[in-house]
Structure formats: structure tokens, C-alpha cells
Symmetry: C2
Subunit: 116 residues, 2 copies
């Protein structure tokens, strides 16, 4: 499922940097139910100011992790899941590269113990 449009691929470091903060990870969790939410609404439950939350949302937006929609005087944010997925793929790629070389090392070790 998922993935429809979006091909704007933010650089991995920028995405990870945006994910590298507890407040922002919590904001993402709260947005996961799929319904777009306003800045004020998202501020509830945190004990930091609306402006602080706004700055975190800016980070997430610049990284392409969330997307704003203006509705009246409110600005509603929703998850842009493709961005999360692209960073997920980046990590999967790292793991698979590691496995390749790990397999090579294992083969070498086996060759040695068989004493060829």
C-alpha cells in the first residue's frame, strides 16, 4: 500500500536529523491516525510553547515528513509517509550491504578452517 505521488526525495541526513528529537517523534506519533491537525491542537499535552512546537513542525516540514494545508485561519498538518519510507529504504540498503560483506567474511573463514 501507500506511496502515490511525491518524488521530492529529501537528502537522508536531513530526514534523520528531523527524526532525531523526542518531541518530533512524538508529534509524528500523534499524526499517525491520519487526520490532519492544527498547531494549537498539536501543542496540547506538551509543556512547551506553541512557538516551540511550531519550530519542530517547521523541521519536519523542511524534511518533507509532514505537509501543511491551510484551512481558514488554521494550518493543518499531515504525515507524508513516502518520506519516512525513503529513509527506511536507506537503512535497509545499509543492512543489506553489511550482510553482503559479512557473508564474504564467513566464506573466507570457512575456507580457512577447511584448510585449502
Amino acid at each position: 500500500m501507500t506511496a502515490i505521488l511525491n518524488n521530492s526525495s529529501t537528502p537522508p541526513a536531513l530526514i534523520f536529523s528531523a527524526l532525531g528529537d523526542d518531541t518530533r517523534l512524538e508529534l509524528i506519533q500523534r499524526l499517525l491516525d491520519g487526520t490532519p491537525k492544527s498547531v494549537s491542537y498539536l501543542t496540547q499535552g506538551f509543556n512547551i510553547s506553541r512557538q516551540a512546537i511550531r519550530k519542530h513542525l517547521n523541521h519536519l516540514e523542511k524534511a518533507g515528513i509532514i505537509r501543511p494545508t491551510k484551512v481558514g485561519r488554521e494550518q493543518l498538518f499531515q504525515i507524508q509517509i513516502e518520506t519516512i519510507e525513503s529513509s527506511s529504504k536507506y537503512l535497509a540498503e545499509i543492512s543489506s550491504q553489511w550482510d553482503v560483506h559479512l557473508n564474504n567474511l564467513t566464506e573466507i573463514l570457512e575456507d580457512e578452517t577447511v584448510d585449502r
Copy 2:
């Protein structure tokens, strides 16, 4: 494959934060061939100082992404792939949660268009 021991699970935000820098991502790439590498060796090719690289390595180490081994006067670093994998799982979990709610929304829309 992969995963043997390690259960020290670094908090996700700390891991992502460590991944959120181009220099550190590049260091990880260079360590992916599986052979442990020293600070001086890893410094080659970057045009920043050894101490700067050392600080980046500290970040990665604190996040549990790399692991040092002391050999003579050298300190060799290698990837701790389980940490990467744990953050990868975190992202996969986000994607799957998103899909769940997206499916729910789709069902609602279908119900509406069928006009029940």
C-alpha cells in the same frame, strides 16, 4: 541474517540524531565493508581535522551504531548493525501504523460512495 547479541537498544531519537549528518553517514558507508578502521584512516578523504572526525565517531558510538576495539595504539571501529536494524524497525512500524489508518479511511469512503 545478521543480529547475534546486542540488546542495548539506544532510544530511537538518539540513533536518528546520530544518523542526521552527512559526514557521519559517509563514515558509516566507509565502514560497511566490514573491516574495522582506525580514526586516522577514517579521517583520510575528508577535509576536516582528525579531532572533528573523532567527535563524529563519538556520536556514532554513543548511539551504539559503531563499536571500538583497542589494538595497540590504534582504536579500530566497526559497525554495530543491530542498532541500524532497530531504527529501521521503528520506521517500519510507523509505516504500518499509517497503512492501518489509511485502510480505515478508505473503507469509510467506500461506505459513503455506496451510500449506506
